[in-house]
């Protein structure tokens, strides 16, 4: 595959990846700090290049339902937003999950609660990984830490979404969305033809051919016995994801006495804190979850058997730390260090937190 | 020229709403004294004065009426 070097913002990388990955439709609503996604798409006019539809909706409620419509019709469709907008989308997301529709939702997280701040945050971890809307369901959640990953994970998202018929969320943050970095982009993947859609997603509503019954996309089942069967099916799918789709990066964990667990922007900061620690003679490692659901429980469980402590570094008041604790099952101390409300931790304060909360804990 | 019609009513699917009895210009439809499997007094023709105009079928919410017509 031909690689082309570019310099762009994380948000722009999402948009470029959408066009190049054969996305059929983007439906969005402006919100800081992710408005560049739609701005870039509108400027690029992909409908002239690939036939991709781009539409500014009247609200996030509407854009997520446009995604529902497109996804239900077998198309590769996506939206992006930031925290308050993602909250508005929760209705649509639970319907998408219930109807088992593949799609991509990008959350460029900002600080909350409420209107909060427009600065970066990771305070939407619970919302992203524990369902978010009503009912038992899971999104597949990817956490990019670089602009390159913003780009790459769009391609990965389509793969996973259509493999499992499940909505995928890229959980980014205002820092990764706004930072400019170099990245490599690849060739254009052609959009699927109707014939391909009929083959890949025979369940979709692309118009009823004579040879089959009418397809119905719905999340409604009035018969509780059938609804429970549907729930079992969903749960089996989530368990399969947990078995097959966990992704993480382990940095200098092999000889580590202490390990930071951090994703996205926090992982970049924790990596610097790791270096500072190593310079001081403290053997620190970093485990970076790439999939937040499915969460890398096993590698954390393994680490917990041999390290002296785990520090969950998050731009939140302590959300992922709960999953780290569950995985560690009290085999070693697990603490949380976070800055929030749009504040970003420094590597020094992360290392200091490790020393204070774990190494020198009373 | 005379027009002669006939209606075939799927009485098991009829809910006995009686909307067709009002729509029939010759008032030949009425609810039966008998009921169907769901307990509805279904609709039935009461004379051979049907003219096959399909007004009954037109207003039937459940699409249970099939209409035939000949010009004699």
């Amino acid at each position: 595959m031909a690689k082309e070097l570019k310099l762009m913002k994380g948000n722009e990388a999402i948009a470029e990846a959408a066009i190049r990955s054969g996305c059929d439709g983007y439906f969005g609503y402006p919100i800081t700090p992710q408005s560049e996604v739609m701005e870039y798409l509108m400027a690029e006019k992909p409908w002239e290049k690939t036939g991709m539809v781009v539409l500014q909706a009247e609200s996030e409620t509407s854009s997520i339902n446009m995604v529902y419509g497109g996804a239900g019709a077998g198309k590769k469709v996506m939206t992006s937003s930031s925290s308050p907008g993602i909250s508005l989308m929760q209705e649509g997301l639970t319907y998408l999950a219930g109807a088992e529709l593949p799609c991509l939702v990008v959350n460029v997280v900002r600080g909350g609660p409420g209107l909060g701040t427009i600065q970066p945050s990771q305070a939407d971890y619970f919302q992203a990984t524990k369902g978010g809307g009503h009912g038992d369901y899971q999104l597949f959640v990817l956490a990019p830490a670089t602009v390159q990953e913003m780009y790459d994970f769009v391609f990965l998202a389509w793969e996973v979404a259509f493999k499992y018929r499940n909505p995928v969320m890229i959980l980014s943050d205002g820092a990764i969305g706004q930072v400019m970095e170099k990245l490599y982009v690849g060739d254009y993947v052609p959009r699927w033809t109707k014939e391909e859609i009929m083959k890949i997603s025979p369940w979709a509503t692309f118009g009823k051919p004579d040879y089959r019954d009418h397809n119905i996309i719905t999340s409604l089942e009035l018969d509780s016995a059938k609804q429970e069967i549907h729930n079992h099916k969903l749960q089996a799918k989530y368990r399969e994801m947990e078995e097959k789709e966990v992704r993480y990066e382990a940095i200098e964990c092999d000889d580590a006495d202490y390990v930071f667990v951090a994703y996205g922007s926090s992982a970049r900061i924790a990596q610097k804190a790791l270096q500072l620690g190593r310079e001081k003679g403290i053997k620190v490692g970093l485990l970076r979850p790439i999939t937040l659901f499915p969460f890398p429980k096993k590698p954390i469980a393994e680490l917990s058997k041999r390290v002296k402590g785990l520090l969950s570094v998050e731009m939140s008041a302590g959300q992922m730390v709960e999953d780290v604790r569950l995985a560690a099952e009290f085999r070693c101390p697990v603490e949380h260090f976070g800055r929030y409300g749009g504040m970003i931790p420094t590597p020094h304060e992360v290392l200091e937190a490790l020393e204070k909360q774990i190494i020198n804990r009373k | 020229m005379a027009i002669k019609g006939a209606v075939v009513i799927d009485t098991e699917r009829c809910k006995g709403c009686a909307v067709c009895t009002v729509a029939c210009p010759n008032k030949i439809l009425a609810l039966s004294k008998n009921v169907n499997g769901k307990g509805y007094n279904y609709c039935e023709a009461t004379s051979d004065d049907c003219i096959g105009c399909a007004s009954c079928a037109m207003v039937c919410p459940d699409g249970v009426i099939t209409v035939y017509k000949v010009k004699l």
């Binding site: 339902n65 446009m66 119905i216 | 019609g5 006939a6 809910k15 729509a23 207003v59 699409g63």
Partner: protein, 259 residues
């Protein structure tokens, strides 16, 4: 059976269309939903567009509409059908995407989706069933409930002070430049059903010619919600509903013809 000798295929003048499935409608006896379903399906059959028709069903009494239309269908979240239809139609521009929505769905919780889809002139058909009540949840007040009308949540009759005015959303939508055809019809008599079917046909023809949004309101009785027999409910509809919501075309070929 009367006149059995003429019951032959060559004499057939009316039978249920195959664009409706064989599922038994769950609607109350005499409800206008079934009639409206039937004529939409007939139009789809007559136009030969079954393979291109995509229904977006609402939340409300007609939540299960997708079980009855023998076309590919999606069930929307409450009020969101126009947004869903927008995306499908844009992604399949030569298809016939239509929404089927009640008054609560379209004119209360889905007002934003309705207005913006119409304002963008989405090339979709919207069928709007107005019976002035929330049928499925047990007869609560709807945005289109008439003043004085008793419902489960306006047990002493709707008042302006407490509940505001009935919403004439169809007239409102006609004002938007994106709507090409806006009409209000009913299904209480054979003549009315024929006119409504003609209007629905017009709506789908407009869509074929990519004219923008076609909006067909259908007044229907809700005999259970209104607490009267179906035949009586149809009379009540003529005497009351049609005063506030007069029958007829409101906008034709993009021009408002009736204020």
């Amino acid at each position: 059976m009367f006149n059995p000798d003429i019951i032959k295929p060559e004499n057939l003048v009316y039978k249920k269309t195959s664009v409706l499935t064989d599922a038994i409608l769950h609607y109350c006896p005499g409800c206008g939903h079934g009639t409206t379903h039937r004529i939409i399906a007939e139009v789809i059959e007559e136009m030969g567009i079954q393979d291109k028709a995509i229904c977006v069903a609402p939340v409300g009494c007609s939540v299960l509409a997708y079980n009855y239309f023998n076309v590919d269908s999606q069930g929307a979240a409450h009020g969101r059908a126009p947004a869903i239809a927008t995306a499908i139609q844009r992604l399949y521009p030569d298809h016939h995407v239509f929404t089927y929505q009640g008054d609560g769905d379209l004119a209360a919780i889905g007002t934003a989706e309705t207005i913006h889809a119409c304002n963008r002139g989405e090339n979709i058909v919207i069928i709007f069933i107005n019976n002035g009540i929330y049928g499925m949840t047990g007869g609560q007040m709807a945005p289109t409930t008439l003043l004085g009308m008793k419902t489960a949540t306006s047990p002493y009759g709707r008042t302006v002070e407490l509940n505001g005015y009935p919403l004439q959303i169809t007239e409102l939508l006609a004002e938007l430049p994106g709507t090409y055809f806006v009409t209000r019809q009913s299904v209480h008599t054979a003549a009315a059903v024929r006119k409504t079917k003609k209007a629905i046909r017009q709506a789908f023809e407009n869509q074929k010619n990519k004219k923008g949004t076609s909006f067909v309101e259908v007044l229907s009785n809700c005999n259970s919600g209104w607490k009267m027999p179906a035949t009586k409910a149809n009379e009540w509809m003529v005497e009351n509903m049609m005063v506030k919501y007069p029958i007829g075309d409101i906008k034709v070929d993009g021009e408002i013809i009736k204020k």
